[in-house]
């Protein structure tokens, strides 16, 4: 049952996959909250998660800084700070590229003043990737974090 649902979600992208899953009775309507990127959060590869948030063609930018520890002894709590000098920021997404589900969070922003910080779980040593959409374009930057003890279980 779960495997079927995963395949349905994988098979097509984003909203259409959800509609199909709902129509097929695989997902209860209550599970489909407004504004939650099911395809993005259930993606198991960073590339699939990036595609699901419309960031597959993001260009590397020096105007984004991802601050995180070089070595995280505890992968369950890794502080991450995103700062950017890009103007007109519309959204920021954070991925831990080797997590079972790489997409950690996605934020639509208005009047953003260049700084966002949170704490994430990391399953293993990986790049933490920030995606910043600004002025209609998509930019990205990464920071590698070495993880001593993973914090995702499984």
């Amino acid at each position: 049952m779960n495997a079927t649902r995963r395949n349905v979600l994988k098979g097509a992208g984003g909203f259409s996959a959800l509609s199909v899953a709902v129509a097929a009775g695989l997902l209860k309507p209550t599970q489909v909250l407004a504004g939650w990127n099911q395809a993005g959060f259930s993606a198991t590869k960073a590339a699939d998660a990036l595609a699901a948030i419309g960031a597959a063609g993001a260009s590397e930018s020096k105007d984004i800084s991802v601050k995180a520890p070089d070595i995280a002894e505890n992968g369950a709590v890794v502080p991450v700070e995103i700062t950017t000098t890009l103007a007109d920021v519309q959204s920021i997404a954070i991925l831990s590229e080797k997590n079972a589900n790489p997409l950690v969070g996605e934020y639509a922003l208005t009047d953003f003043d260049g700084f966002l910080a949170t704490r994430i779980k990391m399953g293993s040593t990986a790049n933490v990737r920030a995606i910043v959409k600004a002025g209609g374009k998509t930019y990205t930057a990464t920071k590698e974090v070495k993880v001593t003890v993973g914090g995702c279980g499984g």
Partner: protein, 99 residues
């Protein structure tokens, strides 16, 4: 059930701390059984009624989720409201005036 949540706003920055297990549904307990997913899915922040952040979270956010960010033009006395909802439908709302 209401989710405990703290909010602090001032000097152009909004800080939110939520008391929540943030289980991703992949961890096992001591008996080897999967611990069900239980995490915050949506968080939104408004200043004086204007949405400044509309966030979506997965199970990769750490336990007791923390979020801070800077907002242009926030002044002392501005009304900041934060709403959050987890995957079981539990909700949290807090309100504070910016210092």
């Amino acid at each position: 059930m209401a989710i405990p949540m703290k909010l602090r706003a001032g000097n152009g920055e909004i800080k939110v701390l939520i008391n929540h297990p943030s289980e991703n549904g992949l961890r096992k307990d001591k008996s080897g059984a999967l611990i069900p997913a239980h995490f915050i899915k949506n968080i939104s922040v408004a200043v004086n009624g204007k949405a400044v952040l509309d966030g979506q979270w997965g199970g990769g956010v750490s336990k007791d989720p923390y979020l801070s960010f800077k907002v242009k033009g926030m002044k002392s006395g501005d009304k900041v409201v934060v709403n959050a909802e987890d995957n079981t439908g539990d909700k949290a709302t807090v309100e504070a005036a910016a210092s």
